[in-house]
Subunit: 351 residues, 2 copies
């Protein structure tokens, strides 16, 4: 109902566009008015000129029932993760996070003690990442918990890394290992189903500490930003892997107007993720491509920088940048080439 | 249910503390780590040292069913208001808003066209206030609409105004008029009830354009910040009136460790608000004290600055600062003194 008469309007479901196209659509007409605004919508963080340095700003929402399930997410871990995922966006610009603000909307089923747990996790993450919690807003919601974190960071002007700088013949590098966070989530979902069917059953999570930690308490790679500085490498482009390798690679491709070739046999996987994938009948490579929430960094470097990082196990060369005309491809172990899509080259094989 | 065994914990309802005590409780142990962080939690905005100037940061959430009812809130107005209330926080620090980020969580009942309306309102406000929309996050929610806006602003270091600077004998000043936003809300609620009872009835909103605009499309007082600069007045303290005059005055009192005396016959009211109050059987002074959402500014000035602003109808002297021992009082027209409380001196008379 509406008190005000409205013109008849078309109703296009949001799902018809998808998140990224929707944001493009809504923000395409925005004109920048302040000269301090260097970069608005369209990268991991916005960029503001504050004199000697650039300031970075990123906002991320975590919504109950969409991004987390409190049946298997301890509130302390959730608080930690809410900070980590925003710090990760600052890392993706090659910057250091300095401050956060926190907006919380929560229904009256949450107690003061529950909020204390959430804050314990946020404070722990702030301490670990050297970030100050400087403000925010706490309010009632009609249902569930919603966490909105805005992170502020800094980067030296000559070290800022956008999504748009990848060049032909650059190497594509992934940090750490991929796919484990998604596998951890599938394990938690399986155990929740078993628990619902039979609450007396104890969850069988043994031996999967690593994948569970990757899902429940991911870390932002502030160590990688530090290491890149020590190695005197400025990536030509960078993005954090929140939505899966395929989706992030396609962002780099679009922003940099290049093509990219990624090789199946190069994708870094943890042995526990491989084993759990076997147990759950999930291909861990597809989990890496499409799963998301690993919060590793995907970067491109000039070939001249290869010697500097080749000995470091934290970095894996997974492919190279090619001309745009060659497209974005996933080269399987058998040598076959598959166009990379935001849902992976064969999403149906997952799950 | 929970997959993980938890220790038995006490469950204190959040309502036992209230919003402000809750935030104090959760943030009391926070230690500032970065030297660029000048002021964290506890004012209208956090303050960061960016060299020549201070940067201001404020986050506000607007939650459907709590802060707005889409039955009588056009989405375009809602978008405008979401920006305005955050710009207002920057004004309260005597600063100029420069950038915002927007987080949106929305259920699938919203169409692309509905989001376009929301963005139209946000873009209109950004244009009006000279602010750049630089980023954000858009995600699904399981129910309703939640808007999280973070505003960034700037202020010259010698002009920043905190809640904590009010001194004995300072004058208390309110801008514009108060109470109309609350009365507008009551009118909308009445018309909604009538509409529900009889959908064929047309809403009777005639002659109340001003109070409706105060509720649905409030303005941040960027003009006041500009005027203070022109008049060469730096307020000794300032806060924006989002929660009602009483509540905001008590924030100034607590932060500045002073007492304050506010006079009923000085409170600025608009004639249409007075008339509507009569119609709705609501005391407009109590609406000003306890209603909220006027987004005017409440400030204190040194007496030496009185001559500079006395001729300007935008400023009304409503009282003065006294020693803390005198307490915070509301002096009624009959000369009787009533302790000011966050719910006003007699909240039961409202509604």
């Amino acid at each position: 109902m509406s008190l005000f008469e409205e013109k008849a309007v078309n109703t296009t479901p949001i799902s018809a566009l998808g998140e990224f196209a929707l944001i493009d659509h809504l923000t395409k007409g925005i004109k920048i008015k302040n000269k301090s605004t260097v970069k608005g919508v369209g990268d991991d963080a916005a960029v503001i000129d504050i004199g000697d340095k650039y300031q970075l700003i990123s906002t991320d929402l975590l919504v109950e029932g969409v991004h987390f399930d409190l049946a298997y997410t301890p509130l302390k871990h959730l608080g930690y993760k809410a900070v980590a995922v925003n710090v990760s966006d600052i890392c993706a610009m090659n910057g250091e996070a300095k401050q956060i603000t926190v907006g919380l909307a929560l229904s009256n089923r949450f107690s003061v003690e529950a909020l204390e747990e959430l804050y314990k996790g946020m404070n722990l993450a702030c301490k670990h990442y050297g970030v100050d919690l400087v403000g925010g807003d706490t309010t009632t919601s009609t249902s569930g918990l919603m966490i909105s974190v805005t992170a502020l960071g800094e980067v030296e002007k000559d070290k800022i890394t956008y999504r748009s700088g990848a060049k032909v013949n650059d190497l594509i590098v992934a940090t750490g290992d991929l796919g484990a966070a998604y596998l951890g989530l599938q394990l938690l979902k399986r155990e929740k189903e078993i628990y619902i069917a039979n609450p007396k059953m104890q969850p069988d999570l043994g031996g999967n500490d690593y994948v569970l930690q990757r899902q429940l308490k991911p870390e932002a790679r502030i160590d990688i930003v530090k290491k890149l500085k020590e190695l005197k490498i400025i990536p030509t482009s960078m993005i954090d892997i929140s939505d899966g390798l395929s989706s992030e690679a396609l962002h780099l491709s679009k922003s940099s107007a290049i093509g990219l070739q990624i090789y199946e046999d190069k994708i870094p996987l943890d042995i526990t993720a491989i084993n759990l994938g076997e147990e759950l009948n999930l291909n861990p490579v597809l989990c890496a491509l499409n799963g998301g929430e690993d919060y590793e960094l995907l970067l491109t470097i000039n070939q001249k920088d290869y010697e500097k990082l080749k000995a470091d196990v934290d970095f894996t060369i997974i492919g190279h940048i090619s001309d745009k005309s060659e497209g974005n491809n996933f080269i399987a172990k058998d040598g076959s080439s598959h166009p990379l899509t935001a849902q992976g080259w064969d999403a149906t094989k997952i799950g």
